[in-house]
Amino acid sequence: MKKILATIQKEWILLRRDVAGFMLLFLMPAVLIIVMAMVQDAPFKDYQELRFDLLLADNDHSRLADEIKFGLKQSKNFHVVDSIEGKPLTEKKLMALLKGGKYRVGIVIPQGATAEVINAANTVANRISEKIGMGKLPAREMRDSMYVRMYFDPVSKPTFRMSISFALDKYITYSCSNLLVSRLGKLGMSQGENIDTVQSDEFKRIFQGIGIKEEPLNDKGEISKFISSVQHNVPAWAIFGMFFIVIPIAGNMLREREERSALRIQLIPHAQNYVALGKIFFYTLICSAQFAVMCAIGLWVLPHLGLSALYLGLHPLALIPIALCIALSATAYGYLVGIVFKTATQATPFGAISVVIMSAMGGIWVPLDLLPGVMQNLAKVSPLHWGLDAINHIILRNGSFSNVIPHLIALILFSTILLLISLYVSRKRTHSVQ
């Protein structure tokens, strides 16, 4: 134990003397967390809290267009622009504006759209009335080529396009349903009675009654705490930052080999194992401290930058073993890189790029649900996946320590395998290279 403590002390002195390195070890992950949380906040808010201009060319000038416009105007997300310099927008002008890049989306309601919807509603109403022996409304063959057209700025992302499409679809469906019920009502209504005024409020209530509302899984949680970029980004980028400990660890080991102090250790009986354990303990602690710093930033710094505060779940103490296991995996990986590679030129790019690859595989950049099945299976190889999922259990799902035991076992197993490989390579190299 004394030998391990001596190694920890030695590493601490060396790190403390490298002031710039020491600062960077904590400063860079801190900057990473702040920048990523802020940058990711915008797409996270995408289509939830953002309000943007939506160009609308109304060639219909009738009920459907009015209802779509009304729906869009009621929405918090859209500011409907249907005229420019006092002139109503045409489809041509709308497309020109989108090509200019100032606007991101435009919709064109075609001429006769309302008529087409009414015709469809009448057709449906007639089919129903045939069966119950009511009257008949005028109807013709339906046209297939009638669409509300959407145009997007080519730089718009698919998720943006999809959410606009969903919103628009909702208003059209609402309008169509409204019209259908109105036509059905008209069949049974006496002359002179106004169906629209009678039933419009009722319809609103009916549709609200079958609306959707998100509820927290855990009765102690609040949805708003979980739907924030901080909650999703701080843990993910914290783990990513922790794995960059690979570079200082490998650098430290290569420097010791270059300055031959590693040879001194090799000449001391049994020292290599104690030195390895000391290094692993030391860097695991440093890495865990990095995690603590990054959580502290999420808790106390990000709220000052206009973001929400990090919520640590109902069992925040469970984060300690998780952080230690992630730190151990990162350290074991760094140790392996330091053993396998012979120069910093080999180790540094490999270490950095492999961390980026493992983080991509582990769902740090893109949620795993969006990745193909093969990638989702491959994610199980990445310790970053286990780490992130464990933290998500605690801070997003309000889970407890028992929920993350499999994750901790996976992380410890990963670390053990890497350390055994390091030991094997180290022993083999000592005798085979010579």
């Binding site: 004394k2 002195i13 300055e259 102090s261 000449l267 001391i268 020292a271 030195v275 005798h431 010579q434």
Partner: protein, 248 residues
């Protein structure tokens, strides 16, 4: 007197090597002796030292130190031998004292043992006033002396030095040689490699000249000078046996 080192028919060829580094080498070193292992570049001196330290496995043959096999009993032997590598094998960003404290604790010494031994060696090698300076701020000679101290903290019975005076000034060299003589007088066996024949002549009880991995000749320096035709100093003997051609 018993043998401290016995090297018998040692063979070693490195992977991809042109020729064998050791080709049936036989060397014997008596306990309490200062033995100079001499040879031109590529003669096999460093390979021999690395085998004795258990860092390199021989292809064939046997090397023992105090009767213990250098490969099979490496860990036991490492407690008994002190190796001073050719390079400065120390943590350059730590002070000399911090280096000694760390190395001492890895040898399992108590803080007091390390402190007492390091202090004694620091005084004897003239570094006591510089113990709190970082190694990377030391001169070449100071680094060499600190490198020797680090190898002697555990008080080994056999010391193996690989060119301990390479690149140091005259004063530092004199101090190192005096120290080694004094250390030998305490009954310690010293094996020492150098390219400086004058130095070997000065401190060695016996020298062994090897070349191309083979034993060439051995004996006390003065005896070798006397018994070799037209030789007035050890360098002449060395050139007589190893030739004048430049080695790669």
């Amino acid at each position: 007197m018993a043998h401290a080192i016995e090297i018998t028919n040692l063979h070693k060829t490195y992977k991809g090597g042109w020729s064998p580094a050791l080709d049936g080498l036989n060397v014997h070193v008596r306990e309490g002796q200062v033995m100079g292992l001499l040879g031109p570049n590529g003669a096999g001196k460093s390979t021999t030292i690395n085998i004795l330290c258990g860092l390199v496995k021989p292809d064939n043959g046997k090397a023992t130190i105090f009767g213990k096999d250098c490969i099979a009993e490496t860990l036991t032997l490492r407690k008994m031998i002190g190796v001073v590598p050719q390079q400065i094998a120390m943590f350059s960003n730590l002070t000399a004292w911090e280096n000694f404290r760390y190395i001492g604790s890895l040898y399992g010494l108590t803080d007091k043992q390390t402190k007492d031994r390091a202090h004694d060696l620091l005084v004897r090698l003239g570094l006591d006033k510089h113990a709190d300076k970082r190694i990377n701020r030391y001169s070449g000679g100071m680094k060499r002396r600190a490198n020797i101290i680090a190898s002697l903290l555990h008080q080994p019975s056999l010391i193996i030095l690989d060119e301990p005076t390479a690149g140091v000034d005259v004063q530092s060299r004199a101090m190192i040689l005096d120290f080694l003589k004094e250390y030998n007088q305490q009954g310690k066996t010293i094996v020492y490699t150098s390219h400086l024949m004058e130095e070997a002549e000065q401190i060695c009880d016996e020298v062994v000249i090897i070349d191309e991995g083979k034993f060439i000749v051995s004996g006390a320096p003065l005896e070798l000078i006397k018994n070799t035709t037209d030789c007035k100093k050890l360098e002449d003997v060395f050139l007589h046996y190893t030739g004048h051609s430049v080695r790669d």
